[in-house]
């Protein structure tokens, strides 16, 4: 989900990718701390869905 948000917002632009990563860090989601094997936390997933919606991204 995190990578989808970054990909959708950055649209391949590395500067925007970095900015979006920083936005997520400030929102409390450090992309570097999550991997595909990270444990699914329903509360965190719900928060990410709200962030995606606020950013106008359909997951």
């Amino acid at each position: 989900m995190i990578e989808t948000i970054i990909r959708e917002r950055a649209n391949g632009n590395p500067v925007l990718e970095n900015t979006t990563r920083t936005k997520l860090v400030i929102k409390g989601f450090n992309p570097d701390k999550y991997t595909a094997t990270s444990e699914d936390d329903p509360a965190k997933i719900a928060e990410l869905k709200v962030i995606a919606k606020d950013m106008g991204i359909t997951l």
Partner: protein, 368 residues
């Protein structure tokens, strides 16, 4: 000269504004930005600036000290006039009530109508925003969060001050003074531009994990499952009773790659630690150690000078905590002199804006 700086210390609003107008002379600005000591009556100042400069977009805010003429100033007004060789176009909007979650969207709709493109599609390499926001509203985080949600454009700026009175701060636009408000200006520069974000800290090896916070109150009750002040003091190897004395040199920071977003502690109350910005529960914070503000800022400005091949205008949003630290160390003149050869103005802020709300940082907008 495509940007000129103006400053005055005349005590009356009318004399001060007339002085600024006179200094502007025959220069033809496209916009005028000003930062004023809270000693000037805000409503009168806003009206007088509009009367003096007519239909020109004029906007600004109150301060906790001004930066101009290569000096850190107090009790003054500094202003910068930029012509159409630097600013091709701009639109200024006001969020009149920061508690209204739709306020940003309303101003963005005005920008979209003006520029004829959605905020999601405007090119971040061609447009840049300035934000000046009530520094006592506690609303900076959600405002910057919302801006970041709605656009890829970068907004840089600062939280208005009131000379450390902590009573009320104001932003100015349209000949009016607003509180609980933010002024947003969306610029289309006619020349190359860039941003500087500089903070003089390195991350120590120690981290603190906020495990219990009251985010709205900017309060951390627990770090690492312990009372916040106890864990913070342990991290620094000092007594909890002495902790506050170490805040200036040892704030904490969010690490985003190699970049640091500083969160500055304000005070210890009971066993809680209150901050100047939100701290998120469950998000690691690095304990920071201060470095040399003058040397670091010089390096940051020089880097942009070389990258842009010259700076024709610089706007500096410099944290009041940096200003106080510079004063304590007798380095105010050395800091001010970093900007003596550049048309530059700025102010001492109650917080800095760049992607989010940050502390103990200087954010700057520079134009070639």
């Amino acid at each position: 000269m495509n940007a000129i700086t103006l400053s005055t210390t005349k005590p009356s609003v009318n004399d001060a504004v007339n002085d600024l107008k006179e200094q502007c002379g025959d220069f033809k600005p496209k916009m005028l930005l000003f930062f004023a000591s809270s000693g000037y009556e805000p409503g009168s100042l806003a009206g007088a600036m509009k009367d003096a400069f007519g239909d020109l977009p004029v906007f600004g805010c109150t301060t906790a000290g001004e930066i101009g003429n290569g000096s850190l100033l107090k009790g003054s007004i500094v202003a910068m006039a930029l012509n159409d060789r630097i600013i091709e176009d701009l639109k200024v909007g006001v969020v009149r009530d920061l508690s209204n979650p739709e306020g940003i969207r309303t101003v963005f709709s005005e920008f979209e109508s003006y520029y004829g493109q959605p905020m999601t599609e405007l090119d971040f390499t061609k447009y840049v925003g300035i934000i000046l926001i009530d520094g006592l509203s506690g609303a900076e985080e959600r405002t910057m969060d919302r801006i970041g949600d709605l656009t890829n454009l970068l907004f840089v700026g600062g939280s208005a001050g009131d000379d450390l009175r902590f009573a009320s701060t104001y932003v100015f636009a349209d000949g009016k003074a607003y509180t609980n408000a933010a002024v947003l200006a969306l610029l289309k520069p006619a020349t190359e531009f860039d941003l500087i974000k500089t903070q003089s800290f390195i991350a120590m090896d120690t981290t603190l994990l906020p495990t219990k916070v009251n985010e709205e109150a900017r309060e951390v009750l627990e770090f690492n499952g312990k009372p916040a002040s106890v864990a913070y003091a342990e991290a620094l190897g000092v007594s909890p009773d002495d902790l506050a004395a170490h805040f200036m040199q040892h704030p904490v920071g969010l690490l985003a790659g190699d970049d640091i977003f500083v969160r500055s502690p304000r005070q210890v109350s009971g066993e809680s630690v209150f901050f100047y910005c939100n701290v998120k529960e469950g998000v690691d914070l690095a304990v920071l150690e201060s470095t040399d503000i003058v040397a670091d800022t010089r390096a940051a400005v020089q880097e942009k000078l070389q990258k842009l091949g010259g700076i024709s205008a610089l706007i500096n949003f410099n944290c009041i905590l940096r200003t106080l630290d510079l004063e304590d160390r007798g380095l105010s003149a050395a800091y001010g002199s970093l900007f003596s050869d550049i048309p530059a103005i700025g102010f001492s802020t109650y917080g800095e804006e760049y992607i989010g709300h940050i502390n103990q940082t200087a954010t700057m907008l520079v134009f070639h």
